[in-house]
């Protein structure tokens, strides 16, 4: 990033305030996850492993907390006194929140993690020196570090299995940070196709791997700039908009409200790109 480029195109790289600024031109990729629909089946996580060439680290390293699941299903057990088979749980699919004011971006000493013009928090593997400051400053802890040289480690991908790796995605080596990209390879392909045909990407034309695999369609993904997109409609359910003019609180409406949307750690002002819709039904089990 040259200095002149940085000064001239400042708004492209850093948004002071993603709501007050007019942040994005054509695309702002965003996601909505309906926790009411999520059954915690882990299909999204498996799809992510397949799509993004995630190494399967094995039991021992998993126990050591060195797993690489970009999309993880978190399980919070109900605390109502019931024992396991009857005990309910809540599920939370957790992935990189692609924050608009990402805490990870400002701290990287070499600028390996940046903001793209379409609102993604990008990770440049070749630039990363592995200081892990981004992970230290991530409130969600959704960044995964290559603790070992996984491509050459036994059992991560047995020899014959390397044929199933996705050719569109880099296989990461030892010592770099990685995280969910919103399947940027799919986004780029869709954008290229659309550009060739002289149009914008249609809503629903591009799906992330997790979204595609979700049996209950809990995950919605799309372009937030387009007001008619599914994801923009889901985002309209947000309980609190940060810009003062749009404050909407669900308690104000009588007889319940469909304002189920919230972003995790909204108070940290990281402006995540993933909207969660509250669960309203009883426990999953």
């Amino acid at each position: 990033m040259s200095v002149s480029n940085m000064l001239e195109n400042w708004s492209k790289f850093r948004h002071m305030h993603p709501v007050d600024d007019k942040p994005h031109e054509e695309y702002k990729w965003a996601m909505a996850i309906d926790l009411d629909a999520c059954s915690g089946c882990n299909a999204c996580s498996v799809a992510c492993y397949a799509e993004n060439n995630l190494p399967v680290v094995g039991k021992q390293k998993f126990d050591a907390g060195q797993q690489m699941h970009w999309m993880r299903i978190e399980r919070y057990w109900d605390d109502d006194g019931r024992e396991f088979p009857d005990q309910g749980a809540q599920f939370m699919p957790m992935l990189c929140q692609q924050c608009e004011a990402a805490p990870c971006e400002t701290v990287c000493p070499v600028g390996a993690t940046n903001h793209t013009a379409d609102g993604l928090n990008s990770q440049v593997y070749n630039r990363c020196i592995g200081s892990r400051y981004c992970s230290a400053n991530c409130p969600f802890k959704v960044r995964y570090f290559n603790w070992y040289d996984y491509p050459t480690t036994d059992n991560v991908w047995p020899a014959e299995m390397t044929q199933q790796l996705n050719p569109d995605v880099t296989v990461r080596g030892k010592g770099v940070m990685e995280k969910c990209t919103f399947c940027v390879q799919r986004l780029e392909r869709a954008k290229n196709n659309a550009r060739t045909e002289g149009r914008l990407v249609h809503d629903g034309e591009v799906q992330t791997a997790c979204q595609q695999a979700c049996p209950t369609s809990a995950i919605t993904f799309g372009n937030l700039v387009e007001p008619e997109s599914k994801v923009a409609k889901k985002w309209a359910h947000q309980q609190v908009e940060l810009a003062a003019k749009d404050v909407q609180a669900k308690d104000e409406q009588e007889g319940g409200s469909d304002l189920r949307g919230y972003r995790i750690f909204e108070e940290l002002r990281a402006y995540p790109s993933v909207m969660y819709l509250e669960r309203v039904r009883e426990s999953a089990i």
């Binding site: 592995g130 892990r132 400051y133 969600f140 603790w147 070992y148």
Partner: protein, 464 residues
């Protein structure tokens, strides 16, 4: 009041004693050197293993990404601060008791900075690409990220290291010339000849020397304060509970001076014995450093309490939870030990009888530094194991032997450099000790003359 130094030491004896330290230290020197070398070997072996296999062998994991490396990095950066305190700040304040001991304190600064620099390297996942963090011109116009506190860190440390090397070297020039003139021909003599830069001790050289030394001293003081403030910014500028504390920069600087002063006491005791410096590193001087250390210990204790109080009364639930975890969770034994070593042990230094008791002060100084190392660990790790995100709470990743080995090895590396320096260069400043002796003897003569004058006056009064 006892004398800091005997006024009647002859200048030739000063030269002789210090030059002897370059040639015939006590046998303990070689024992220390061998131990340091083997410790360094252990650390080097661990680092080679980690470099080959990956950072995973250190048993770091997703929330616990830094572990002991960053904690020990802060420890070594901190230790470097008291060298500057002694050589630059006390120089400006004309505290002449610093003169026999500032040289080794300044060397301690340089070498602990070098050790800290190692940890920056050791903790990198891709050590071989570390130069990406340097703003060098390249055809791709890719720059480091100037917003990152880690980058400020790298720059501050590099500036501080290079300035303190220059300061150490400049202060040594007249002494290097003495070495050049007194040693037998050989590689050492050629080394000193080159390093003494043709020093002849002319008036002009002395004037220029004084000016240069003073200028560099003034330049170094703000650097010393800023470098540890910037290390504190690594934490204070982040968003994490337990790190995002405004009082961190002064807290870190106080902690740095504290552990540095404790390390000076440790090294004082060792050098005094190993290089037979009993005549110069006297007990009254030890007493003065001990008192200084005690004062800084109290400043640190206060700032520590400020940190707890500001977290406690902030009603920031996440930060409060981290503090509670520190005091009651799995880190509790270390956290309480840190408070004990840092705030209770220094009260031993209040006891006058013990202030000059060498074995006791040696043990106390080691305990203080243990406390300060634990403090750094307790800043880094508990935040990782109990950060914002509840899913990863209570992730207690115990460091493996690889991590401990590298931490252990760093002490060997430091000792190796430091003892090597003391064997190769005069670790007591000969010219300043001579000045000190001269000034003291002048002062003595002055008092004697005054006494004599008073006596005559009294006698005259009596005659009237």
């Amino acid at each position: 009041m006892e004398k800091d130094i005997r006024e009647s030491i002859e200048w030739a004896k000063i030269n002789g004693d210090v030059l002897k330290s370059l040639e015939s230290p006590r046998p303990l020197f070689w024992v220390i050197l061998v131990i340091a070398l083997s410790m360094f070997g252990v650390g080097l072996g661990c680092e080679i293993y980690q470099y080959q296999i990956g950072m995973g062998v250190a048993n770091l994991n997703n929330p616990q990404v830094w572990g002991l490396y960053i904690a020990t990095f802060i420890f070594w950066i901190g230790m470097s601060h008291s060298g500057t305190l002694l050589s630059a700040i006390l120089h400006l304040m004309h505290a002449d008791w610093r003169k026999p001991i500032y040289r080794f304190a300044e060397a301690m600064t340089t070498f602990s900075l070098m050790t800290a620099g190692l940890f920056v390297m050791v903790h990198l996942g891709r050590l071989w690409q570390f130069y990406y963090a340097i703003p060098y011109p390249s055809e791709r116009w890719v720059w480091p990220n100037f917003q990152s506190p880690l980058l400020w860190d790298a720059m501050a440390i590099f500036t501080y290291l290079s300035s303190s090397v220059i300061f150490l070297f400049i202060g040594m020039i007249p002494d290097l010339a003495i070495c050049r003139d007194h040693l037998h021909p050989g590689w050492r003599k050629s080394l000193y000849t080159v390093l003494s830069l043709g020093w002849e001790g002319t008036d002009r050289q002395w004037r220029n020397f004084r000016m240069t030394y003073l200028t560099v001293a003034c330049f170094l003081i703000p650097l010393a304060v800023s470098v540890h403030s910037i290390v504190a910014s690594d934490f204070a500028m982040s968003q994490q509970p337990g790190w995002h504390v405004t009082s961190f920069p002064p807290y870190f600087v106080a902690g740095a001076l504290y552990s540095g002063c404790a390390a000076i006491i440790t090294l004082f005791v060792i050098l005094r014995y190993v290089f037979k410096f009993e005549e110069y590193m006297t007990l009254p001087i030890l007493k003065k450093i001990v008192r200084l250390t005690f004062a800084i210990a109290m400043v640190w204790t206060y700032l520590n309490a400020v940190e707890f109080a500001s977290v406690w009364y902030s009603h920031d639930e996440a930060s409060k939870a981290v503090l509670i975890q520190k005091a009651t969770g799995i880190y509790a034994p270390f956290w309480w030990m840190m408070n004990f070593c840092g705030s209770v042990v220094p009260f031993v230094m209040m006891i006058k009888r013990l202030q000059t008791n060498i074995p006791v002060m040696f043990a106390v100084s080691l305990l203080l530094n243990l406390g300060m190392w634990l403090e750094r660990w307790m800043i880094v790790s508990p935040t990782f194991s109990h950060g914002y995100y509840p899913y990863l709470w209570d992730n207690n990743q115990w460091p493996t032997l690889v991590q401990w080995g590298i931490v252990f090895g760093s002490f060997g590396w430091f000792t190796l450099l430091f003892m090597g320096f003391c064997k190769l260069f005069p670790s007591v400043s000969m010219y300043e000790v001579k000045e000190m002796v001269y000034h003291r003897s002048l002062a003595l003569k002055h008092t004697e003359r005054n006494l004599a004058v008073n006596a005559t006056e009294l006698a005259e009064k009596g005659a009237h």
